[in-house]
Symmetry: C2
Subunit: 408 residues, 2 copies
Amino acid sequence: MALIVQKYGGTSVANLERIRNVARRVMRTRQQGHDVVVVVSAMAGETDRLLGLAHEAAPRPSEREVDVILATGEQVTSALLAIVLEDMGCRAKSYLGHQVKIATDSVHGRARIRSVDSFKLLADLKEGVIPVVAGFQGEDEWGDITTLGRGGSDTTAVALAAALGADLCEIYTDVDGVYTTDPNVCERARKLRRISYEEMLEMASLGAKVLQIRAVEFAAKYKVPIHVRSSFNEEEGTLVCEEDEEMEKALVSGVTYDRNQSRIELIRVPDRPGVAAKLFQALSHAAIPIDMIIQTSSAEGQYANLAFTVSKTDFPKALEIAKEIAQELGAQEVLSEEEVAKVSIVGIGMRSHTGVASKMFQTLANEGINIKMISTSEIKISCIIEPKYTELAVRALHDSFELQKEEG
Amino acid sequence: MALIVQKYGGTSVANLERIRNVARRVMRTRQQGHDVVVVVSAMAGETDRLLGLAHEAAPRPSEREVDVILATGEQVTSALLAIVLEDMGCRAKSYLGHQVKIATDSVHGRARIRSVDSFKLLADLKEGVIPVVAGFQGEDEWGDITTLGRGGSDTTAVALAAALGADLCEIYTDVDGVYTTDPNVCERARKLRRISYEEMLEMASLGAKVLQIRAVEFAAKYKVPIHVRSSFNEEEGTLVCEEDEEMEKALVSGVTYDRNQSRIELIRVPDRPGVAAKLFQALSHAAIPIDMIIQTSSAEGQYANLAFTVSKTDFPKALEIAKEIAQELGAQEVLSEEEVAKVSIVGIGMRSHTGVASKMFQTLANEGINIKMISTSEIKISCIIEPKYTELAVRALHDSFELQKEEG
């Protein structure tokens, strides 16, 4: 008998028929002898509707008040699921963020969970009651409602699993699990049976939108195993967990891509201390997140080229700032490409193997794809390329690293 | 400079345009130098929509969970009004029931307020912030959300006014105030300038649906003056307050009616102690509220007739119970009328005047209206009549007591 936290996303609770399906799945888990705590998102589309209402009220609505409005989405779903469970003969109770003391900081719209009080939930489980917790929401130290950002219910689920010492956190969504790459781009994409937290973090931040990054960080910190799976079938999904020997055999676990990138480059910046700091401080003040940064020095060592990427939505603002700073610094010119793509390979096996990077570059070269920028981490290599080659690059890398082959 | 609690009902906040009107009115009050605390209802129709959703989920949804769902209606309105106020340059903050510690009992769907913590509200006022409180909701001792029943936002407003020691509680609604009778039935109906709490209580419970009864009780207990007025114009409404000399001059303040009544009569019940108790305990166990009760003994003193009225929705169940008990008691038969009407006159002047009742009966007799039952209180006389005579009776009584004449 295990304690399982199950989280159901917006599409899984999109209407009452689906909520009834969710209730049946919760009851089956109970019948298998497990204790269950459920976390729910708002019904699909509801968060957007509520956000629209807030922006209809004022062009720039107070973030505190937007959170008050958004939180009602999960509130309604949690009570509806509790009603359906009780109707099916199962004792159940809904809880809002503040009722189970999901304490967060005060950053409205993307608050971070600080602590959770598991007391009420454990008391319910003891009495055979299934707690249904509204995801995505918490309460700050002033007693104000906060929300955790898109995908925040994942984090609620993992945080509850950690606080309860749960054996497993199941994330039910509308995809089957985590794939070696996007099946829409590469038909040989294969569902992974297991993936490490580290790899999942890289995959998540590189654009595989299955799990909120913050949820994976939380899970890694508290060693909560996450099972990502579909609520529309009974198949096993992907287990996100600590790395084990089996995983290490795989050199590369996945190929990801992100088409939503822009590139800006400052050419021949006089190379003296503080140049990079000046540029990136200015971008940071404008709240523009930077992805890759590459600096190269000229042979003489007097000038440097400074290139970076930002998401496409931030491009106009970032370019404007870059041009101002370039003038201040006395750079020769500013080059930019509004549309570039990033293709990455991720795998913890890279740590102990050489030749992964060169194989990636060779694979792209074989297809005639020019690499504009390269950035690497311990378990990831990313290349910036022309966007029209994205699919070709993904498929070539997937084949080259033989990701279609079954693990272990 | 006064402290005013303003409550806006569902039609006054039915859409964003009306919410903006409310915001302008709030700001005008502030510009006049007053401190304002606002209480809002859910947008018109929203509570019904949410209730429908809950009943779609299960035929008999858990009352605890229904309250969780219903509470979102006021939650959204309070945040929207705060957003609009801030957009107009006024500092404002929304509050939910639990955030200002509106503590209630645990009777979901019709909870009663026990206490309110005015700390946060007073702190806001000191800082020039307008608090916008979600009406209709509270929190019980377990931290569960409760709701106060239809019209519950009135009670929230009065409770806050009492806790804050406010000078006035303004109830903005879609009618101009309290009328001597229903203007749809009697075109000579006149808006009252003032009415006492006691009269208002009788008017409210007799079917003049302007204010929730509980709100009037609360106001009477804590001597909070209520100004009932329209949010769609600038006219003065009706002040509900303690009785004063001016009021006592008026014999009768209003005529009310209720068509939603049924009558049941047990004929020739053997007259022994405990007969009435047995019947009304059975009805009470079935949670059927009884309105009028009349018992008459036969001349010989061996038999009694026992008549009572219930609301039409409770009629089938009440009749079934009455028939069972009648058989147990050995009553001769059970008569019933599913549709009867109640017409009443209300006025604190009755306490010190005689002849009011006889004038009422004579008025009805002059119109050829037969009286089936009579019940009286210190400041009210009610008659049960055939429903088809309702409008005729109301108009005749309104004329007879000269209610069209201006007060004082």
